[in-house]
Subunit: 253 residues, 2 copies
């Protein structure tokens, strides 16, 4: 019964959604045991993606969504003349590939920024389950909608915020997502380069670097290349919330 198709190690390789530590963050939120069982049969587990490898590329046929189990990914698109835009960073429990559903072709690239593991969710199998597990469908639609909301907040960031506000928003967003996963939220390793951060935030890498330095001088953070420590997250949050408040005058209440 527990036959594992491509087992290298018996049993341990077959990671079940029902056992997965991410089950409350990932697609199957709120399923009952029976439903977990059904989902398990659909998911192709634990494909390993090495740092730098592509999960999929622009133009490839869409067949599956991917849930990050471990590791870190970015997605990006390119303009016709080759300029690059990072459209998102993805950590464990997050779903990649929803762009591909619009016309069954991936409209972005997905690249691992460190050695990673993903669960593959073949979409036609998933679709078959929708009838049987309405919760699953509802949650999937919810995830797509969240992606839309997230993107619109990035539009706000790119359209209205100054460099310092953008970087502060970026750091606080990472921090919050790490906390939600039980990781330290005030001290972490950046998985992406300055250039990738800049691309995501609509800034040049030099501006990102300078802004990190400025934050450090202000005492908001400690930067040591990829290692970041948030020493004054409140101040960073304040920067995000109201840029109008003069950054010079720091009234602490």
């Amino acid at each position: 019964m527990l036959d594992c198709q491509n087992c290298e190690k018996p049993q341990a390789l077959k990671i079940l959604c029902s056992n997965c530590s991410l089950r409350e963050l990932c697609l199957p939120v709120g399923l009952n045991p029976d439903e977990f069982e059904q989902l398990n049969t659909v998911i192709r587990q634990s494909r390993h993606i090495k740092k730098g490898e592509y999960l999929f590329r622009v133009g490839e046929e869409f067949t599956s969504l991917f849930a990050v189990r471990t590791g870190f990914f970015k997605t990006n698109i390119a303009s016709l003349d080759g300029r690059d835009q990072v459209t998102g960073f993805f950590m464990s429990g997050e779903l990649i590939g929803m762009d591909g559903l619009s016309n069954n072709v991936h409209s972005c690239n997905a690249v691992a920024l460190e050695d990673s593991e993903v669960c593959e969710l073949p979409f036609d199998r998933l679709e078959e389950l929708y009838g049987e597990i309405p919760t699953l469908q509802r949650h999937f639609i919810r995830l797509m909608s969240s992606e839309i909301v997230r993107d619109q907040n990035v539009m706000l960031l790119l359209g209205n915020m100054k460099s310092e506000e953008r970087l502060a928003a970026f750091l606080m967003n990472l921090s919050q997502r790490l906390r939600a996963r039980g990781f330290a939220s005030n001290e972490f390793i950046l998985r992406m380069s300055r250039e990738e951060i800049g691309s995501y935030l609509g800034l040049k890498l030099e501006t990102v670097s300078r802004t990190f330095s400025k934050f450090q001088q202000s005492g908001w953070i400690d930067v040591n290349h990829k290692h970041i420590r948030l020493t004054n997250p409140l101040e960073l949050n304040r920067l995000v919330a109201g840029s109008n408040s003069n950054t010079e005058t720091q009234e602490e209440e």
Copy 2:
């Protein structure tokens, strides 16, 4: 051909998807007659929204999606300190409100930019139909995905393009959508103010105005306040595709 000839007659008040001239642009693409019939029973037709009125606001409970029948809408969000970002413009056949599915609360405002008519699609009714009309569900997911792809292209625009490229992209996008609806694509009336265009494009209204003037001086367009005529759309397209192309072709990578 776009407008409904029967609209003013009383019996025609009940506008049926099956008769609607937008049926090939809107949600029910590819349904068969039976399925159209089912969809008709679910849709609350033709709510009128006057210019300036809100279809919904941030924080309101989400219950329905809205399909634009006639008219023009914008959606926008505000940062905590009150800065405003227009996140989209919507014309006939386009669906508004998909942001609300993430947590059953609208995360943006939707405002009519001219007197408009919408079809209301109560989402719980729609959901009940999914089991019976798989095509409908698939198409809805497709529409959500398209919204994600659209938003990511706006991220590219905001993150990488210069003011002239942004405005050219904006004009060509409008033009293309008007053409798809059978309207003149090289001559149209802008429904939004310079400020709203600027907000969408991450520019100030003065910059939008100046860039319009620059385009006119270059002979690409005729601007007369809200009235726009594209006299050289090819050149505008070239601006969008490769801003560098104007000068020497610079190859990198």
